[in-house]
């Protein structure tokens, strides 16, 4: 019986020739990540170990993105705790305000993850890097602390679901629509404890940012990780961003999958997840009249340059609806700069949007766009749980950047084709 792509990466990092689903292993870590919310708990746990050094100062990575720029005194104290720790332990990859971006957009851009890596992060959306052919998964702060100490983590080897992609996406349809479609189909625990492996001839037509969006939301189906087969586009992206050499793993021909789904990308429609679960999806032709108060375009799911560019292409020369607040958050400084140089910031500001410095901010109801009781937002983020963006009676509708931008113009959830 052959191994899946994920199983091969895990076997190599556990020093084993072969692993099977369900096996418990200790695997070597190529990177250990935390943010300003999860790292303080990890630091508190790390200090109980009485160890002077982190296992590898180039592999431990901290990004101040959630409540940064510091939203209040407590948040400032947490960031300071991370900053002091990283200074003391001489951590190379500490990203503070000025260098930081939203972690899962920043790490690929900085070349900190390449194909074949094993990465853990104390953030559930760490599964994003599977788009580059790495095994990466979200863990908690204690796992982060132990990862920083010994450079290893325990894993139960997952089985996998295969998604065979074919065809090509239509205009205004993106990776977000595909992953929302999939979560709607299999449910929020449809991939619980398992890998989601994306393969097939359709992969080639998906941009790296579409793929990052899709693996980012693997956790929203309960998955341990999402992973894309590595192709020329992946290798070109890695070569452009990293000096490290990728290791390409391919699933065995006789790898066993729990299930296989064939997805025709040309049939995917704009898809929106209604409150309060990411699996509560409807296609754009079944939305009805949903009036909105706020639009958020950004996050680790959809704050990539192509997302910002797509939103700008829809908003160019138009005004957003009265009584709608539109918040655009490029995910990293480089994306922000490129958006500025290409005139996209002007487009947004002239349309009546604001453009924020990188931050997770409103996605998790932290700051920079909190909703009042009963308010509704269309957001390109990844979760629409009760109270996620603010008051427990507020509502979040998850959508693509194209749908979010079109909705900002009309003030209700709108098919991008309607405004173009």
């Amino acid at each position: 019986m052959g191994m899946t792509m994920t199983q091969k990466i895990l076997a190599a990092h556990a020093g084993l020739d072969k692993v099977e689903a369900g096996q418990l292993i200790l695997a070597y870590l190529d990177r250990v990540l935390g943010n300003d919310i999860t790292s303080p708990v990890a630091i508190r746990e790390f200090e109980k170990l009485d160890i002077d050094k982190v296992y590898d100062k180039d592999k431990v990575t901290m990004v101040m993105d959630h409540f940064a720029p510091n939203k209040d005194i407590k948040a400032a104290t947490q960031c300071k705790m991370c900053r002091d720790f990283c200074n003391e332990k001489e951590v190379t990859h500490f990203y503070d305000v000025g260098q930081m971006g939203i972690e899962h957009a920043l790490l690929p851009e900085k070349g900190l993850v390449v194909a074949g890596d094993v990465v853990i992060g104390a953030d559930s959306h760490t599964c994003t890097y599977g788009a580059l052919g790495a095994f990466s998964t979200g863990v908690g702060s204690t796992d982060m602390a132990c990862g920083m100490a010994i450079g290893k983590a325990w894993f139960k080897v997952p089985s996998a679901i295969k998604f065979e992609l074919k065809g090509k996406l239509n205009p205004y349809i993106s990776g977000k629509d595909v992953i929302l479609h999939i979560i709607g189909m299999i449910g929020v625990d449809g991939a619980l404890y398992r890998s989601m492996e994306f393969t097939g001839e359709g992969v080639a037509s998906l941009s790296i940012s579409d793929r990052l969006t899709m693996t980012n939301m693997a956790i929203e189906a309960g998955a341990k990780n999402g992973i894309f087969e590595v192709d020329e586009q992946t290798l070109n992206y890695i070569a452009e961003h990293s000096n490290r050499k990728p290791v390409v793993y391919k699933a065995d021909e006789d790898a066993v999958y729990d299930e296989t789904y064939v997805i025709d990308l040309s049939e995917i429609k704009s898809t929106v997840a209604f409150p309060h679960l990411p699996g509560n999806t409807r296609t754009i032709d079944n939305i009805g009249d949903v009036k909105i108060d706020q639009v958020v375009i950004g996050s680790c799911t959809n704050g990539f340059y192509r997302d910002i560019e797509e939103a700008a292409s829809i908003l160019k020369g138009k005004k957003i609806a009265k009584n709608v607040r539109a918040i655009i958050i490029p995910a990293t400084q480089d994306i922000y700069l490129k958006a500025m140089e290409n005139g996209l910031l002007r487009t947004f500001i002239e349309a009546g949007c604001i453009v924020s410095t990188p931050t997770c901010g409103p996605c998790l109801g932290g700051h920079m766009g909190i909703l009042a009781a009963g308010e509704r937002a269309v957001s390109t983020t990844n979760r629409n749980f009760v109270g996620r963006m603010g008051h427990p009676t507020s509502e979040v509708y998850l959508a693509s950047p194209a749908v979010a931008a079109a909705s900002a113009i009309t003030g209700r959830i709108t098919d991008p084709k309607e405004v173009m």
Binding site: I37, A145, K152, I219, G222, G365, R383
Partner: protein
């Protein structure tokens, strides 16, 4: 490990955002986190929970954000054990790592009702609903995980050289 307590019951897909809303994640103080536990789902939880109470829930308990603050808040609020039909995987490993007892048992989670008195005998894998008399068998943890629990969590396991 053996616990006995009164049941507080919730449904499916209880996410970590309702267990501890992100607006309170600007602190790592355990007591402060516990004071907001379950707030967006059940405003009565913090006032009625008693030390030793048992939380029972449906499918996919603890889904969403990886925040370890969620099992920390539950543990600190006094809950002795969480019984669910299934757990989201990050919450599951976080609970083991910090030493919050959790039990996956769909039959028990279905049958046990709010307010019942339940005994959880984790050493022998038996849950007993003392209100109805019904008892349920649970699957034991794999040895590797049992060792982490017996050592008092992952940090202690590393300190003792049991995980290296």
């Amino acid at each position: 490990m053996k616990f006995e307590g009164t049941v507080i019951k919730y449904g499916d897909n209880v996410d970590t955002d309702v267990i501890i809303p992100a607006r309170y994640l600007n602190t790592i103080d355990k007591k402060e986190l516990a004071s907001h536990c379950m707030e967006d789902l059940d405003t009565t939880f913090t006032s009625r929970v008693k030390a030793g109470d048992i939380m029972v829930a449906g499918e996919n308990f603890g889904c969403g954000s990886s925040r370890e603050h969620a099992p920390i808040a539950i543990k600190e609020s006094g809950i002795s054990v969480v019984i669910a039909k299934s757990f989201a995987r990050i919450f599951y490993r976080n609970s083991i790592n910090i030493g919050l007892a959790i039990v996956e048992c769909p039959e028990a989670a279905e049958a046990i009702e709010e307010g019942h008195i339940v005994e959880a005998d984790l050493d022998n894998g038996i849950l007993t609903d003392k209100t109805t008399g019904a008892s349920f068998k649970t699957a034991p943890f794999p040895q590797f995980i049992q060792n982490i629990i017996e050592n008092g969590g992952l940090i202690e396991s590393i300190r003792k050289g049991a995980v290296k």
